[in-house]
Amino acid sequence: MTTMDTQELLQKVGVNLELHDQLIAYNNKLFEATIRSAPNRPTAMKYFDSGFHASHASRVGEILDYRTKGGKSIGTFCIYVPDEIALAADVLPIPLCGGSHWPVDYADKMFPRDICPLIRSTFGMAFSGTCPYKKLKDATVGETTCDAKKKAWDLLGFEVMEVPQKKADIDRELWLSEVIRFRGFVEKLSGVTVTAERLKETIKLVNRRRRVLQAVNDFRRLPNPPISGLDALLVSQVALSQDIQTFISGCERLIDELQRRVGEDISAYEQAGPRVMIAGTPSPMGNAKVHFALESSGLRVVADESCTGMRYYRDCVDESADDLAGMMKAIADRYFSIDCSCFSPNKERIENILKTIEEYHVDGVVHNILSFCHTYNVEAKIVDTALGKVNVPSLKIVTDYSFEDIEQLKVRIESFGELIQPKQLQRI
């Protein structure tokens, strides 16, 4: 529960304390029941556990202090908004995607019920007065990755970056021009001009965050992963919400411990269940439903290609350019390589999935698709066709954040595990 100091802080940023208590009680209960229920967690996960709680407490204080001293910040959603550029203009990006089921119905105030739970959770929090960051930003930057989001940005008057829908040269040019326009936008917001020197620093900094995330993730390739899929998810979620330097240090401590665990052959799992990859939509902080359903059913989530997985940190920005124009192009290229299903076609995603299956010794793929995400839902069939050719089975789960269908999901998940690993029958 929140302490008195936190209450004061939340009141200062305009949070409805009564409803916020309900939200936190709901989130904490789920956090204990899912992520914290894993049997053999590294002790270095403590930082990430506290990061989960801090996102509605001390992190809010940090950003409030920063802003009191004149710092500028923007709200963001997708992993398309380039952190490097915002940071180089002394603008702090705050990812706002909601992963909690609790506020979902509050979105009814402005949004239809049949749009994705991520949008509904995010704005449900805003409309119920439980989002602590609502007053801690000077602008909000959306992007054109899905129809419901585009119109939500229009409705709320957000700044919008245009993510193209194809990957031809003309689209690449358009994207570069959008990235340059974004630089102008953040420069105007803070009055700070982005210099080559400063941008080089922030490129390196954000790349460092990607590299520690990659390093944590690499451990999951091992036959006995020292970190669970649930914990790896929490690491990604915390990356999006906490201070970048502190996060990198937290990851470095975790990497040291994981290294020691490997030496002592300590696995995060009690049983060597089927190795699965999660593919599809993100699981923002508060949502660990499908990861939990899988791992509590004896499957091991050893890879996650979503936006709260490898899509977020797979590629780094090329650090070789020294001039501003070269760096801007390197940034645009890196973000343009993201294999979001909003692209047509999206061959890179299939290639990445097949490569990950090999590198992480994946036995089966679980499509985790948020309800009403048409592009990932339909693209699952394209992925399955490719998986069929390499004889990798898949299971498609289309669901929201609520736990009402968990038992039905577990029937499918356990069956999927039994289908992947029929030799289990021999162990009776």
Partner: protein, 271 residues
């Protein structure tokens, strides 16, 4: 040595005791508000009836919706694996299994080695499940066991467009007001359920032999609609509601050897 399979479903619980060759005892009870307790009670009752001790039973495998909450099980398997095992034991050439229970409907594809290759299952709604038929029976004030025979009396089914158990009720009331007979409403409902299953088949395919199992397989109206709509001959095991429990008992007994098409229980043993 005996092995036991317990299928704790959303509506009913079935228990099968198997000696490796045939079924030596079985029973069925309602899941009710305390399914795990009811399962335990039914199991103990079955042992008493057969004058057996707990120690006569080597292993218990639980399946069904309540499988993870039954403390007395040595192992759990999903319904999909258990139904496949139970079906193959009775109909060795089964390649497609349709299972409709109280709260869900599933379709499985088996390979030549009787392994589950692929499956589909309904999402969280009750469309195309036993619950749907139960709701309709209640609206029509007809015992659910009688719906099958009754529906087949109608030469043709009404067009039921809603597959939602809640909305279908409204639609059916409307149809009755317009003068539709309860028989034609039922037949229409069976067709709607079959179309739902056909939709699942579109995703994973159908291959002979096709077996229909689970409690709803006892409904001749649904069976007929499935045959009409899919154009395939569909077989139903004797006492299809026990298929999951039988499969669980066989998995409990299988001790290292996978259930395969060779080691089968005779169909007669089940009856």
């Amino acid at each position: 040595m005996l092995n036991c399979g317990i299928d704790i479903g959303s509506t009913t619980i079935e228990i099968v005791l198997h000696d490796g060759k045939s079924i030596v005892g079985k029973c069925m009870t309602l899941s009710g508000a305390f399914p795990a307790e009811h399962a335990k009670k039914a199991f103990t009752g079955l042992l008493v009836d057969l004058k057996l001790q707990r120690s006569d039973v080597e292993r218990i495998v639980a399946t069904g919706f309540g499988r993870n909450y039954f403390d007395h099980a040595d192992r759990v398997f999903s319904e999909i694996t258990c139904h496949a095992a139970g079906v193959v034991a009775q109909i060795p050439n089964a390649h497609t299994v349709i299972e409709i229970g109280g709260q869900d409907s599933k379709m499985m594809q088996l390979d030549d080695e009787a392994r589950v290759r692929d499956f589909v299952m309904n999402d969280r709604c009750a469309a195309g499940t036993g619950k749907f038929i139960e709701t309709v029976a209640r609206t029509l004030n007809i015992p659910v066991e009688e719906t099958g025979e009754l529906g087949l009396l109608a030469p043709k089914g009404c067009e039921i467009s809603s597959m939602c158990a809640v909305f279908a009720e409204t639609e059916i009331v409307g149809l009755l007001h317009q003068g539709a007979s309860p028989e034609s409403v039922l037949r229409g409902v069976f067709n709607a359920v079959a179309r739902r299953i056909l939709g699942m088949a579109g995703r994973i395919g159908m291959r002979d032999e096709i077996v229909f199992t689970g409690g709803v397989a006892k409904n001749k109206g649904v069976l007929r609609a499935l045959q009409d709509i899919t154009g395939h001959e569909i077989r139903v095991p004797v006492e299809p509601q026990f298929t999951g429990a039988l499969g669980a008992a066989l998995l409990a007994a299988s001790e290292g050897s996978r259930t395969n098409r060779v080691s089968q229980t005779s169909v007669q043993a089940i009856a």
